[in-house]
Symmetry: C2
Subunit: 243 residues, 2 copies
């Protein structure tokens, strides 16, 4: 399992992903799930991946190969729009499905992969997409400004309570970290280090990238304060119908 | 989807279940998922059900029929132990599987049902079991004093933080209600009214049964205070690495 979260807020884009992969509990490894394609001030495109690691690595491999492509639409660094970039990722997933899907099915393996892709190209608006294993996709909106993939449930309640398109970047990063804290506590297959990318609107640049270890002072402090605060909050709630 | 929660604490047993069932979003109905078999001061047995409603109703139907059975082991009101009662439920699930499993498979329906069963028989200890659709089961322990079935994830973090076997009954009921609040907010297929049953240890009696509507004053107050408290707690967390 993985957990990845992308947000498209008025102030910019935020991407956060864990780094644990597992094929059974006896085969746990660490892989980055966040891939950044950036030409500072001109374009920034970030892709987060969840699902079968062989599938997601093959898709990213195809995209990396596309960097050599001459036709602008086929190269993620020259494609004219984020929409075309999402189609490029979708086509790559379909290519890998054509290549490996049948063999995987024969071995009882699900062709299961999902992607969050967002960014901005100079002169155009920020966009954020979620791409399915069928290669089709949806786009984040004013009403739903974030996407989660992988182990989404434990970390969803706090996002639902806090995050709107209006949320400032620092508050949203804080909320994302709390969301990951709940997930890490509840699902052993999601784990630090976390990979954080922040791209302010109209900068077409990664303003902050941070590889957050378990012992990161801010993350550790957040987790401690949040845990203590929840316990106190819970204890202070009225205890029964009689109170 | 459903959400049901059973706890076996030093002070007694707690059972909480929602009442929403759905077969698609256009077929939502209300059914009780909590069944109580009680002879006050002699025995109390409570069963919670989740999964395919036709399966769970058929299983409960068989158990109701068993109330006529002459052999003590086959009658949930005379079976000599909770362990035998869990086996009785398991056998009922297997009987329904033999009867309906193949036809369901032909129609692409999963034979999916799970049960939480707990109680106490005079002179014996309280026990709590989770019974799978294969009819086998596990028992709650000192280390894992509660079981969840159905939509378990949204409501798990607060249970993990708060509940141990030592938790007093009123605190555990409060925690169960907060756990249901998170679940109801995140999954439309889980909904009030909630069905609460509390059986203090060595009483073999339902000391409290409450059918908790959406507008129940205590539940509403808890939800409001919890929501406001979370927002305040979140706002008071440090905002970034720089603070």
């Amino acid at each position: 399992m993985s957990y990845c979260l992308g947000m498209r807020l008025d102030e910019g884009l935020i991407f956060l992903s864990d780094s644990r992969t597992n094929a059974g509990v006896d085969s746990v490894a660490r892989f980055r799930k966040c891939f950044v394609y950036e030409r500072p001030h001109e374009r920034v495109i970030v892709i987060l991946t969840a699902g079968n690691l062989a599938v997601t690595q093959a898709v990213i491999g195809l995209l990396e190969e596309s960097l050599e492509a001459d036709e602008p639409e086929s190269n993620i660094m020259t494609t004219p729009s984020l929409y075309e970039a999402a189609r490029l990722v979708g086509r790559a997933v379909r290519t890998i499905h054509d290549q490996d899907g049948e063999a995987m099915r024969k071995h009882g393996a699900d062709f299961n992969a999902s992607f969050i892709m967002g960014g901005q190209i100079k002169g155009r608006r920020m966009r954020l997409f979620q791409i399915y294993s069928a290669g089709n996709f949806i786009e984040a909106s004013e009403e739903t400004p974030y996407f989660q993939i992988g182990e989404t449930k434990y970390g969803k309640p706090i996002l639902q309570r806090v995050v709107t398109a209006r949320t400032p970047l620092n508050q949203a990063v804080k909320c994302a970290l709390v969301s990951f804290d709940s997930t890490i506590r509840s699902n052993l297959s999601v784990g630090a280090p976390l990979d954080l990318v922040v791209c302010p609107v109209d900068s077409q640049t990664v303003a902050l990238r941070r590889w957050i270890q378990e012992d990161d002072p801010y993350f550790r402090h957040l987790r401690k304060k949040w845990g203590e605060g929840l316990t106190t909050l819970f204890q202070n709630l009225p205890d029964s119908w009689e109170e």
